[in-house]
């Protein structure tokens, strides 16, 4: 359940460390984003000497949420933190490894 102003960790080696969600891509007026949704985020913290800088607006796809994901077979998956992977306009990840 990621919404605007949510801080997320970054789960790749793109250079960003923490993101803040600004908007959820998809239907208009969508309240919450879950695993697999694309969000627009601003970088709140970045690693030094990385191609991404603080206060840069980028897109990201959510990979981990503290809110559980329910599957049709009854499996429930819940993580301990909220995390996203930075992607570009096409949908390709900006980093090379997923952490």
């Amino acid at each position: 359940m990621i919404q605007s102003q949510t801080h997320l960790n970054v789960a790749d080696n793109s250079g960003a460390r923490e993101l803040m969600c600004i908007r959820i891509i998809g239907t208009s007026n969508r309240r919450y984003a879950h695993i697999g949704d694309v969000i627009v985020a601003v970088i709140k913290e970045a690693a030094p000497n990385s191609p991404l800088e603080r206060s840069e607006v980028i897109r990201a796809v959510i990979v981990r949420t503290c809110k559980e994901l329910k599957r049709d077979n009854g499996m429930i998956i819940r993580y301990d933190d909220n995390a996203a992977v930075v992607i570009d306009q096409e949908g390709n990840p900006k980093g090379t490894r997923i952490l």
Partner: protein, 238 residues
């Protein structure tokens, strides 16, 4: 005002039991106030048995206090020491049940696994052949089953333009559906990194720059490469 009247009633004794019914409408407000003063009202409860119902709600809240585990460093509390798995516990389990304590029920015997692998291998090689027909370059088939749990084979191919990626992807989809009846998940629109997921076999189609950028061969360097029976095109055309 309401609080002061309630205090007056509680301290008064038996005489005002009749008046409680009259004051019934004020009860919600009174009880909310009482929660703050429930401490000392509770102490007086044994003296005022007819006021039990007024004190009952605050008393229930009082009793919900969670027990807090405040232990000294070297205290030996059996309750909390179950958190760690001790060596003695493992030794006991081994002596009791033998080396295997838990076995998954859905695992197939090794001979059936090898058959499945052979089937996926033939599928992967067929897909690689389709890719080479569309003139994809530098096709590699990697056996990644010992490295990842979610697939058996990777196919990595390079295409030189987006229409070529589109052509490779659509030819693979048609071939898989016709011959094997498998429908892939993954990318539907062509992308500079296009993915087709057939379950046991995952196919990556890159543009040359993306292939160098993501460098999957290095990440899966421990995977055994599979020899392809047809001639592979060199990765760089002039």
């Amino acid at each position: 005002m309401a609080a002061s009247t309630s205090l007056f009633i509680a301290g008064a004794g038996n005489h005002y039991s009749g008046e409680f019914q009259l004051l019934g409408c004020f009860e919600p407000r009174l009880s909310r106030r009482h929660r703050i003063q429930s401490g000392w009202l509770w102490l007086n409860e044994h003296q005022l048995p007819q006021y039990n119902w007024l004190c009952r709600i605050p008393r229930a809240i009082k009793l919900k206090l969670k027990p807090s585990f405040a232990l000294r460093k070297d205290s030996d509390d059996n309750l909390l020491s179950n958190v760690e798995d001790t060596d003695e516990m493992f030794d006991d389990l081994f002596n009791k049940y033998g080396k295997v304590v838990f076995r998954r029920n859905d695992q197939k015997p090794p001979s059936a696994e090898v058959d499945d692998d052979a089937e996926s291998l033939s599928f992967a090689v067929a897909m690689a052949k389709v890719a080479s027909e569309v003139k994809a370059a530098d096709i590699r088939v990697l056996f990644v089953k010992p490295l990842v749990y979610w697939t058996r084979f990777f196919i990595i191919a390079t295409a030189f333009s987006r229409p070529q990626i589109d052509a490779i992807a659509s030819k693979m989809r048609d071939f898989a559906e016709k011959k094997y009846g498998k429908v892939p998940t993954g990318d539907t629109k062509p992308n500079s990194w296009t993915l087709l997921d057939f379950g046991d076999v995952v196919i990556h189609v890159f543009l040359p720059q993306q292939r160098a950028f993501y460098n999957l061969e290095e990440f899966y360097g421990n995977a055994t490469p599979i020899e392809l029976p047809f001639e592979n095109q060199p990765p760089f055309h002039s």
